[in-house]
């Protein structure tokens, strides 16, 4: 059996003595669309920050595309793309200028040509020569996705990608994610708290509560056991503090 695309082994993070990610262990296989559910402050973003090598874990290890996040960060970075929750870019530059800069930093050959290709792929070439400063959240999200896939990463990390988007934007993003997964074989790691998105997009899910992994399974197993979105929501609520509070009440 081949090595999983992402492997977490007791991955832990703490700030000022408070543990925010607590000994997280799980495997995510190549080609999966993985949905990482959790309440606000559960530790989802912190987990992504560790896996993308933006932050060093307090303890534990993880590998991404077969490379250790602590010992081989540059190798990990060559194989990942990342779209933060709020995509921030150089506002005074155009979308294409921003993308060419990030493409060059990623070591992409012929960056201008590659930027055009990616903008065409994402159906947003009309944004190329516009200054980012005037972009809506949806437009930024598209350019954010573009910068993440310029170098053809094996793993794409998305942090709350649909946050703040209108229903059209959400559908557009969902379609793009599915396409990147099916056409280019990218493994997708997606933080979200939208249960409907999980059911429509993901092949496996995990639920994080107060930094602890409380659930991890393939989506078929979840839907077979819990049925539709509403049942999935019940599962989520039963695993998170909000749900437990409701039970107590």
């Amino acid at each position: 059996m081949s090595e999983p695309m992402i492997r977490l082994n007791r991955l832990t993070q703490s700030f000022d003595g408070v543990t925010v990610v607590d000994a997280l262990s799980m495997d995510i296989e190549q080609g999966e669309i993985f949905g990482f559910l959790g309440h606000n402050g559960a530790g989802k973003t912190t987990t992504i920050q560790m896996l993308t090598t933006l932050a060093r874990p307090a303890s534990g290890t993880a590998t991404v595309a077969g490379y250790d996040i602590c010992n081989e960060p540059l190798e990990v970075r060559r194989r990942i793309g990342y779209v933060p929750e709020n995509v921030r870019l150089y506002d005074t530059l155009t979308a294409a200028e921003n993308l060419v800069f990030f493409a060059r930093l990623s070591g992409v050959d012929a960056p201008a040509r590659r930027v055009r290709e990616v903008l065409e792929l994402l159906d947003c070439t009309y944004l190329a020569d516009k200054r980012v400063g005037g972009f809506s959240k949806g437009m930024r999200q598209r350019v954010g996705l573009a910068q993440a896939i310029l170098h053809g990463p094996a793993v794409l990390f998305l942090d709350e990608p649909t946050s703040g988007l209108d229903p059209m934007g959400i559908k557009m993003l969902r379609d793009l994610v599915m396409r990147l997964n099916t056409e280019f074989g990218m493994t997708i790691f997606m933080n979200t708290h939208l249960i409907s998105e999980i059911a429509k997009t993901c092949t496996s899910i995990a639920v994080l509560s107060h930094g602890k992994l409380v659930y991890h399974d393939r989506i078929e197993a979840v839907t077979a056991r819990y049925g539709d979105d509403a049942a999935l929501e019940e599962l989520y609520l039963s695993l998170t503090p909000v749900g437990r509070l409701a039970e107590v009440a």
């Binding site: 920050q49 993308t52 090598t53 933006l54 932050a55 540059l74 190798e75 970075r77 060559r78 990942i80 793309g81 990342y82 933060p84 709020n86 921030r88 870019l89 150089y90 506002d91 005074t92 800069f101 990030f102 060059r104 930093l105 990623s106 070591g107 050959d109 910068q147």
Partner: protein, 314 residues
Amino acid sequence: MQGAPSPGWLIVRQSASFVLRERTVALLSLMFVVLVLISAWLGWSATSTVNRIYLDAAAFLKSAGQPVPTNPVLDISPLSLMRNMSVYVALIGALSAIVIGNRLVGLDRKAGVLPLIGIRPLGRDAYAAGKIAALIGLILALGAVAGVVAVATFLVLPAITLTGLQWAQLAGFMAVTTLYMGIFGLIGLAAGAAARSETVGLLVPVTLWLTLTFILPQLTANLNPTAAINPISALAIPPDTSFFHWAAIVLGPVSLADAYKFASAGLLDYLPQGIASPSFIPPVITLVLATGVAAAFAWRALTRLSMTEGEYNV
């Protein structure tokens, strides 16, 4: 991938081009260039006026059959006509360098792009080295502008011919000038990377610059601020009291504006007889040491800059 620029070089190029697009940086740099030109013009004007008066007087004296004294322009070192430049460098040059250093990292932080840079195959040390290299390039460019103006001034003055040693002294002055601006650029870079907010990142180095330029010279040489902006009166002998004796020992080594002015006066041959730097460390050594310390601070701040929380707190 052969021939592709390294990520560190990309940081250098991108940072420098971003900073040059900044209106504040452009205005300050322009002001620096204008003041450098004015300082050269002041020196040229004073020298050529004296020279013209001398030539008229010499012609009159000669026609009257009286002895002609030597040209006073030739009594002083021609290099000294550049003395005003040392004042402008200490004022606007250092301030420009602070703003350039601050913006080099501040633009990334303000834009909020650090996470997107942080996930590229680029080490934190390459990022830091790129920013410092960009700063060095921009400060060298400012120094080069001042150097070209100085050289052009000497080339257009017909009464003045510099010896080989004097050209070397002028080159030394330009090197010291660039070094001095570099110190403030590094301080600006360090503060821009370490401060939590954009305002503090700019306020700290500017306060330091004000202290070094106007306050420390008062404590080490009893020099009032208006005297500090005159190249000659800035070179004062401190009163012979125990306070100034101890102030020179304690504060002399960190009084960078004093060190720069004394180094400049020595190199441009306008240091008055009997006046020496109050510090026990030679001025040029002080500037070299300060550059090392500022570079260490900048390196530390840049390599510790959080790629997840590096955005300024507004």
